[in-house]
Amino acid sequence: MKRFAELLDRLAYEQSRNNKLRLMTDYFRNTPDPERGWALAALTGALSFQHAKPGLIRALIGERTDPLLFELSYDYVGDLSETVALMWPAPPSQTLREQQEPRLSSVVTALAALGKSELPGQLARWLDQLDETGRWALLKLVTGALRVGVSARLAKTAAAALGDKEAQEVELLWPGLQPPYTELFAWLEGRADKPANLDPAPFRPPMLAHAIDDSDLATLDPNDFLGEWKWDGIRVQAVAGVDENGARIARLYSRTGEDISGSFPDLLETLRLPGAIDGELLIVRDGRVQSFNVLQQRLNRKAVNAKLLADFPAHLRAYDLLVDGADDLRALAFAERRGRLENFIARGNGPRIDLSPLVPFATWEELAAARQNPAAAGAGADAEAIEGIMLKRRDAPYIPGRPKGPWWKWKRDPLIVDTVLMYAQRGHGKRSSYYSDYTFGVWTKGEDGDVLVPVGKAYFGFTDEELVRIDRFVRRNTVERFGPVREVVHEADQGLVLEVAFEGLQRSTRHKSGLAMRFPRISRLRWDKPPAEADRLETLERMLDKIETGRAAIATANRAV
């Protein structure tokens, strides 16, 4: 438990992805089985046991400490589990404690077997046996929230690195593996053969596209490509198969291979034909694709209940077919796979799964027009949920990763606005000595003339050289400091204008400006522009009105049909 606790402790403070990987790989290398396997299970969220509630932990500490000292401590530390971990009274004998320190493996196996009434007593015994960091890690484990900034994918990547393997290889095996993963580690350390993946519905690494620009376009022949809409949802892989007992297995995976089946039972139950579809997860109400904002509302919910399923019906729009029954189609040309896909969808998985239509074009100009106005090019009422156009070579096989050439994405033009830098905050990791997170605002009428109101925050879109220049500007033009945040001069004639690009706008009661931007980033630094010439809140409001009337007009048109 001690090593695992030290690993979690270090991961919780480390910001950099690479360094987190190094820490985990080092741990996997130097920790024996089965401890490291249970750690991998904890980091990937593969452990299942009844989690302890905060009330239980509060009761345990209440029996052991003076209530006023507990309150003063809790008030100072601010986190219940941490307060308990720190002030838990040490048992009388230090050596006794060291002899008995529990192993991670015994903790997780005991947790899975414990009855509800036995949990408090066992938890107290473990807390007696551990030190501060150990108690903190134990409480994180039993309350079910590690929160150390490690995704399942990252933990698998770190394990794979033990054998110089790609995460993808581990990902492919993963559904067939069980904690504590001894056969996985044996293979990674070259002591055994690769474990066979007997999973009937495995994840297959997806093919990704490069962004295209005009210069790329000029060199390409429109006849070589097929065009399709790029939907603004989340890219998923839906896989169905039959296990050795003849039972149907269906799974939904995210683009990175995370199994998200549990969140989308409504979609999975309609996935009947054995195969693997590459598509976009969307919310479709009354035959209409909803915006990403609506999808986000479903993604944000932890508990999947009947109301959520009714209000946010999940839908799969299919782009590609990787497997059809027993046939792996990935080596076939896209045009051929497309034919198989159309046939597969027609055979029927039910109305929640449909085909993403092709966008017909003969010249790049025609395609550009479709991209500019998807509603008129066949997308109709769903145009608002279109992010752009995908171009796929007719003759390209399905290649995992992001090969350059066969697939291109051509996004719609972003929305652009000129803003003024108002606050800057230090970044994390490598950027922690730089002011790299920027809050920017636009002009609006205040009580005594125009004032700037913050409309968003962005921390990328600029080059390293530009970052150095902005950082210098921030340090030289600070008007006030609040911990890691600096207020930067922002007057009509003094300040820095940032051109900000964003993908969408919505109304928000959380922001003073009443609006929230989707995916804002710095697109240009306007050192040349006086802040007085930056945009006004009214400009953003007009953009929002346009978006909303656009939606309303489409809705009206739809009802008329």
């Binding site: 030290e6 270090r10 190094r22 080092d26 000292l69 530390v77 230090r426 994390h428 000595s433």
Partner: protein, 346 residues
């Protein structure tokens, strides 16, 4: 005679009217007795100063020759009669030269302990328990959540990180007087014998420690080193410089901070620390409570820090306890935000 007739708390520090002196006064006074060299306890501008030789030397290093009208050095265990009071200094185990000040009159003894710790430290004399009637204790870490644990284990954590990231520099924020030198000594004790680097502002004090015979191994100013040479090395610097322009001379630095505050995650995160090292020169909760009991004092006065918890605890043990509201004590270099100015100048 009441304890208040020997020492009486005032907003500027405790005062002995009998002897006509203040202990660690926060404003200039005629006569001061100083417990240790940290700037919140040892201020410049007093008429006469009585302290250990080390404390006087450290004040001279920091404030210049004319930091006081006159000075008088006193050894640990030596007594001096001031007015009707007998004054004796005893080691406090906090930093080099730190002392507890025992003041006696009419068979009643009050001990002003200043800052102290009751654990071993290779860079200063160990804390000495002084039986007394009234014990004046600090309360910097006066909450039961503060247990500092084993400093050697923290150093082991540091050295493991240095081995794991040989291409990065490890930058340890540590208070310039005492902590920095103790951390270096602990690193040496763990067997690490490579060059250790220092921020320029720590040079004078560190050299002073070495001149007093404290073995710190090879210690150099980081100013002399090139960026590439700093990979895999350890550098000590004031906490306020950890995230300043100065830190950019290091290859992908791992930010460490050696302090008792690092026990609390929110504190460590606020300083953007990647590797917190729980190493403190103050007594932790166990140390404070054990010391109070061991002095045999029937009355406890609590200053600077978490007074409420310690006063409450003392009351539950049947001791008379009161907080002293003295303004101006706190951790040297430790302000609630990251102080930004040092190191910012080019």
């Amino acid at each position: 005679m009441r304890p208040e007739d020997i020492l009486i708390p005032t907003p500027n520090g405790v005062c002995c009217k009998l002897g006509g002196f203040h202990i660690d006064p926060t404003r200039p006074v005629d006569k001061a007795v100083i417990t240790h060299g940290h700037s919140d306890h040892a201020r410049a501008g007093h008429g006469a100063v009585l302290a250990t030789q080390e404390t006087l030397d450290l004040m001279r290093l920091r404030y210049g020759e004319n930091f006081a009208g006159s000075t008088q050095a006193i050894k640990y265990g030596e007594s001096l009669s001031l007015g009707g009071a007998k004054v004796t200094l005893h080691p406090a185990g906090h930093v080099l030269g730190s002392a507890q000040i025992a003041v006696e009159a009419n068979g009643l003894r009050v001990v002003a302990s200043g800052d102290y710790k009751n654990v071993s430290d290779p860079t200063c004399a160990p804390f000495e328990l002084v039986p007394c009637d009234v014990f004046i204790t600090e309360a910097t870490f006066g909450l039961p959540v503060f247990r500092h644990g084993d400093p050697d284990a923290e150093i082991a954590k540091l050295l493991h990180s240095v081995a794991l990231f040989p291409e990065r520099a490890h930058l340890i924020g540590a208070y310039s007087l005492g902590k920095a030198q103790r951390v270096i000594a602990l690193i040496r004790k763990a067997g690490h014998d490579k060059q250790i680097y220092l921020h320029g502002s720590m040079e004078k004090i560190t050299r002073y420690y070495q001149n007093r015979g404290i073995d710190l191994g090879a210690v150099e100013l980081v100013r002399e080193a090139k960026k590439a040479e700093l990979a895999g090395t350890i550098t000590l610097c004031p906490p306020s410089t950890l995230k300043e322009l100065w830190s950019r001379r290091f290859p992908d630095p791992v930010t460490c901070f050696a302090s008792g505050w690092m026990r609390v995650r929110a504190r460590a995160r606020k300083h953007l620390v990647e590797l917190p090292l729980v190493i403190s020169d103050h007594a932790d909760w166990e140390g404070l409570t054990a010391t109070i009991v061991a002095t045999g004092a029937s009355e406890v006065w609590v200053t600077h820090g978490q007074e409420d918890a310690l006063v409450h605890w003392s009351a539950t043990r049947g001791l008379r306890a009161r907080p002293l509201d003295i303004v101006g004590y706190g951790d040297e270099d430790e302000t609630d935000g990251v102080a930004e100015n040092p190191g910012e100048a080019p």
